[in-house]
Amino acid sequence: MELLRFATAGSVDDGKSTLIGRLLYDTKSIFEDQLESIERTSRDRGDEQTNLALLTDGLRAEREQGITIDVAYRYFATPKRKFIIADTPGHIQYTRNMVTGASTANLALILVDARNGLVEQSRRHAFIASLLRVPHLVLCVNKMDLVDYDEAVFDRIKNEFRQFATKLDIGDLSFIPVSALHGDNIVHRSEHMPWYDGSSLLHHLEEVHIASDRNLIDARFPVQYVIRPQAQTNHELHDYRGYAGMVAGGVFKPGDDVVVLPSGLQSRIASIDTAKGPVDEAFAPMSVTIRLADDIDVSRGDMLCRPHNQPRVTQDVDAMVCWLSELPLSVRGMYALKHTTRNVRAQVRELDYRIDINSLHRDETADGLSLNEIGRVRLRTTQPLFIDEYRRNRTTGSFLLIDEATGTTVAAGMLL
């Protein structure tokens, strides 16, 4: 059974919680005690209906204020797939939360209210999904029951979105007309919309092809940890030296020639080990241990790749960054930078522009980025990084900036 991670985004009152509640309810993923608990709370609060949002809004402050503060993770499974939902709140901290949820998502699900059509937030959500390169995007036009299941309404929203999407880089785009409240096109095809010949939402989630979204071409193995059991009792293991890590791209096989960065030393893969025994090949995102034929110096932060397909080795990087902190970005400021298994420091040399995420206009006069803003920067790092473009590899193309004084994560970066 395959795992699909998807992020949901929508603006206030577009029925996102109802939609998630419906998916969970119809796949029997809500338990009786959870339902009882939220029914009780809904009653106590004087809500007319059981408020399915309470399923995800678990923190005291969220319940008190009736808002979602943070990304909530939800889990459900069908006989075909297991799903992880990153439910990202629409109103406050929307960029920060959606960027977080989208960073690991295979698919983004954006909701719009059929009565209102596309709103500013729908465009923002689509922009963020494309910026984070979520491979699949589904636009759910919800509340179709309130527009008499009218095909023309759906078509109008679909065409408008398509037009906007030409400005973005979206791999696979689908449109589904739904009523989350009544369950139309959620699990089963709706009888009310015979004009729609696509899949129900759940069917789409079960069938969308995700295996080829990963990079299987550029072999990249950031060394995470060196395994040396030498000091222990088993003498056979005395000379064992394995490089543990998670494959970040491509396919590695025993016998492959590899080059170690930054040293440039070359060797051959002697074996790819796991606790269950050696494997014939390793691809992303497998965690394995690679042994090399030669005794060369390799440590955490190094990268194994193929001699004829290497990442860029550089101290000067251009990147789009999403600012996640209340401390604004300062040009010339120093930050800790975390990229794959490497920790370096970086100075912001230039802010090229700030992007207006509603109009996609680039403001080249901007001199800073504050919370939830996105811009293009040029950084100089204290040590070289081994990088790929984010559009080619989401693992070797992404990094965090960390404030050195407080230790908080201040920005998410995508390499250009």
Binding site: L3, Q34, T56, A61, Y225, A244, P285
Partner: protein, 302 residues
């Protein structure tokens, strides 16, 4: 795994993610420790740690916060497991904390909430900077909002409104001396994943997870075991039932469920069909209030 299509099963993907997290901690922290109670989640966590560093030993100790109210089967299991893996066991005792006057016994005798003080004292004493916990996001609504790397201040407190954003597979473990990071490698596992993985890997568990006969009595809608720490009150009748445990905590707060499931497959079938969450069905400690878990977590609980 089917190598032709380069797909991982959901269990392979979860295992790989957890191993990555565990190795990240071993690489970036000076004094990690893994909380090990002998409960199924901590058993899987330790199993994953053993796999992560194979053929070397797990490069950090494990710690049990011992309330003194344990199921004897679970304590035996704890000791045999650490011996088999050759890891060091640190026991932090709630009994000691009571004797030293750090905490006071509650009128109801329930020691579960007292564990927080014992845990934080032990973290301080041993200067642990990363503490692995087996909590899962599907367990409970406050835990659904928890990060994989969860920052704790010098008082061990969790601030749910001010958490670090966590993106991709990049984990930020920065902290100052005296602060620490709680790490939850099983964040994305569900109860069903746990059982499927236990079966797939043929991992041994304490016997009380499977059906057995036990003397129990009914209290607050749960079947509690008769033991030296839990006696029925007046009007609570002792009956002998075939039961098993879905979670393993302290005897006084952990309820058994009626079940004839005696193998992994039986338990998986039962788990797939169940209509109650494991904590809702079996944990009195979560019923204290709507936000019981959040409140305890803020103070530094697991």
């Amino acid at each position: 795994m089917s190598s032709h299509t380069y797909e991982l099963t959901h269990l392979e993907a979860l295992e790989s993610e957890s191993i990555h997290i565990i190795r990240e901690v071993a690489a970036e922290f000076e004094r990690p420790v893994l909380l090990f109670s002998g409960g199924k989640d901590s058993v899987i966590m330790l199993h994953l740690a053993a796999k992560a560093f194979w053929p070397a030993r797990v490069p950090f100790p494990v710690m049990h916060v011992d309330t003194g109210h344990n199921f004897p089967e679970v304590l035996d299991f704890r000791d045999s497991t650490v011996e088999k893996l050759g890891v060091r066991l640190v026991v932090a005792s709630v009994e000691d904390s009571i004797d030293k006057g750090r905490v006071r016994e509650r009128p109801d005798g329930i020691r579960n909430p007292l564990q927080t003080v014992t845990l934080l004292d032990a973290i301080n004493e041993h200067q642990f900077d990363a503490v692995f916990g087996g909590a899962r996001r599907d367990e409970e609504k406050a835990r659904a909002k928890e990060r994989v790397f969860s920052f704790r201040d010098e008082f061990g407190q969790w601030d749910p409104k001010n958490q670090r954003p966590e993106l991709w597979s990049l984990y930020n473990g920065r902290h100052h001396k005296g602060e620490h990071i709680r790490v939850f490698p099983l964040s994305n596992w569900t109860e069903l994943d746990v059982w499927q993985y236990l079966a797939q890997e043929e991992i041994e568990l304490p016997s009380i997870y499977f059906a057995h006969e036990r003397q129990v009595f009914r209290r607050d809608g749960m079947w509690l075991a008769v033991s030296e720490h839990t006696r029925p009150r007046e009007g609570e009748e002792i009956v002998t039932l075939t039961v098993r445990y879905r979670t393993v905590g302290d005897i006084p707060v952990t309820g058994a469920v009626e079940s004839a499931a005696s193998s992994y497959d039986d338990v998986i079938a039962e788990t797939a069909a169940t209509r109650m969450t494991e904590r809702g069905a079996t944990r009195a400690d979560d019923r204290l209030s709507e936000a019981a878990m959040e409140d305890r977590k803020r103070e530094g609980y697991f």
